[in-house]
Symmetry: C2
Subunit: 366 residues, 2 copies
């Protein structure tokens, strides 16, 4: 195998581990809504598009599933359980049996600084599969050739392998001064983010093309922007803008320097539907089998400021931590953000012109 | 697959995690000596006994290796590296090639409360294999049927799945009052320990028989007692006896109750060579291909009391922790043990009549 593929160590920012008040385990219900909402799509997609015979899966075979970017919450377990139930049912029908003799091996993947200890301790003792954790970036190879039957990845592909270099360069027209993400309002910044996403997408898809058996499926859940709508008009973008303005407030108070804030950017990008589809269509190894665009059913619950602050902290704390250093500064920052958010929650929610939109796409390895 | 096999949750006592002063990572050199000493045996055993063609391993295959009871230290990485180098060389010779195209997938297994986070963070970025962590007891099934080519287990099989029930029962003739391990001097206690080891051995071997492909190898390193020599006459047993007498001293000081010490026993058993071989010969699924009995080359280094105390604490802290509860008590206990050991080190080392003896055995799945 190509050793250099393993040598690339991309930036990695795990969700907050453990089960403390700021942990992802305590703030993963929103993402859970997405997994729950796609249960029917996943069921229909597998039932219709997976051909066990052509995969060579018979009575005493092992069926191998990988969840990429699993983090630690219960969502990965739910997603995998949904897949297993569907494959098992399909297998029973195909073999005309009452009791499935298929064995399932499931690989939970995330960066090596993900809290696998918590993941492993919370695996259900009643699970009907052999569990395994795979540390490493999904932008590289993680598994042997043609070893996986289904790959699943939920709410993870928006993480870039790094912040595009040019947006932190004060001499570049793409310098992203005054913002911490891809607002969508500065063309050069948007181009740089989009190019990085495209590169990462290619790495991800090339690796999966090697690992998934021909006829195997890839189920991807990713938040997208409606075509033509800039990020700052979406709920997520509005939160990021507000988070950015809080950082500049803290700089004015002297807690951090303005230069430090200027050089901070989120390694996150939400492509538009068109952009994402164009990238997939360019890839000759996979074909689109099903596609559903939907809104998280939990989107319209009247969540309070505390909820949003908790969710953003669980997901983003480590990004801030790595850039700003001291845990004390990061703690102060999130507390300030939480307080400010509380006072401005209606203003923020009213400023939103578009919901966060989810894409569930099912691909087949040709 | 049989769900009930996964449901059994045996007692589990991980090595001390992290990289702190009491961590196994800092106290694994002694076990490392055993792994290093067997490099030649492993090399010769694989070179002579592994038949890649009959395993169906060709140019673009995946070769699957599991290390059972891996803990967190670097020893598991060294052992796996030794195996991979040997298989790779054998493959090159068989295929008459200069560059191996075999891909290796390695599964590191230990209990789900093992510190996998540390294990994953210390994986070499230059490794030439796909790494994976598998949480669970090796007394149960951990892998799909016929999925492994080589299983390795070093200094792990002496851990029992539980303390034999009767030795903690004050009404049983096997009550182990006054000792914390199988000294070898009370017949009923020795019988109870031996029976538990035999049960656990059977569970381990039945699970592996399902998981290893026919023709696949199992390499086991385990400390054994010379035939007819009781445990209390070995270095390890002398340490356990001394540890036990320290516990009774602490009870006299009022730090813990005597009843609490009476009910404490180490879930550890070192079989005699004859006992171990009899168990293997009873198992029709495996045949003995090679066998080497040796002493750890590091055995005769003049280690100080601090070294032994560190080693025993790294390996046993969690057993004491689970029984005696408070981390403060366990910390006090090991500090007392360390101090006492320092004052008695010559006495202890002189009392030793036998070295700890290691067995390296190579088995083939029929």
């Amino acid at each position: 195998m190509a050793t250099e593929e393993i040598n690339i160590l991309p930036e990695s920012y795990p969700m907050v581990g453990g089960d403390g008040p700021y942990s992802y385990a305590k703030h993963s219900t929103f993402s859970g809504g997405i997994v729950d909402a796609t249960k029917g799509m996943v069921f229909a997609g597998i039932a219709e598009k997976l051909d066990l015979k052509s995969l060579g899966v018979y009575s005493s075979s092992t069926f191998q599933i990988a969840d990429l970017g699993c983090s630690i919450g219960p969502n990965a377990f739910t997603a995998v359980q949904n897949i297993i139930e569907t494959v098992e049912q399909k297998h029973l029908e195909a073999e005309n049996q009452n009791h499935s003799t298929l064995e399932f091996q499931v690989f939970f993947n995330d960066h090596s600084n993900n809290d696998f200890n918590t993941l492993f301790k919370t695996l259900s003792p009643d699970r009907k599969y052999f569990a395994s954790g795979v540390p490493g970036s999904f932008h590289n190879r993680l598994f042997p050739k043609s070893s996986l039957h289904i790959v699943h990845s939920s709410t993870a592909l928006h993480w870039l392998s790094k912040v595009p270099k040019e947006i932190t360069d004060s001499k570049s027209p793409a310098w992203n001064k005054g913002s911490i993400h891809c607002t969508g309002f500065v063309k050069e910044v948007a181009t740089a983010y989009s190019a990085q996403f495209s590169n990462d997408f290619e790495s991800f898809f090339n690796a999966r093309a090697e690992e998934i058996v021909p006829g195997g499926l890839m189920l991807i859940l990713i938040a997208i922007r409606p075509d033509g709508i800039p990020m700052s008009k979406n709920l997520e973008g509005i939160h990021y803008d507000f988070l950015g303005s809080c950082l500049y407030d803290l700089a004015k108070m002297g807690l951090i320097s303005e230069e430090k804030v200027d050089s901070f950017n989120l390694p996150i990008y939400y492509p538009s539907l068109e952009e994402f589809e164009t990238l997939i269509k360019r890839d000759a190894n996979f074909s689109i089998e099903r596609k559903n665009v939907f809104t998280n059913p939990l989107m319209h619950k009247a969540y309070c400021a505390e909820f949003w602050a908790g969710l953003l902290r669980a997901a983003l704390e480590s990004v801030f931590q790595q850039h700003f250093g001291s845990p004390h500064v990061v703690d102060q920052m999130f507390k300030y953000y939480s307080r400010e958010l509380e006072q401005n929650i209606s203003f923020i929610m009213e400023g939103k012109t578009h919901d966060r939109i989810e894409l569930c796409i099912i691909l087949k390895r040709n």
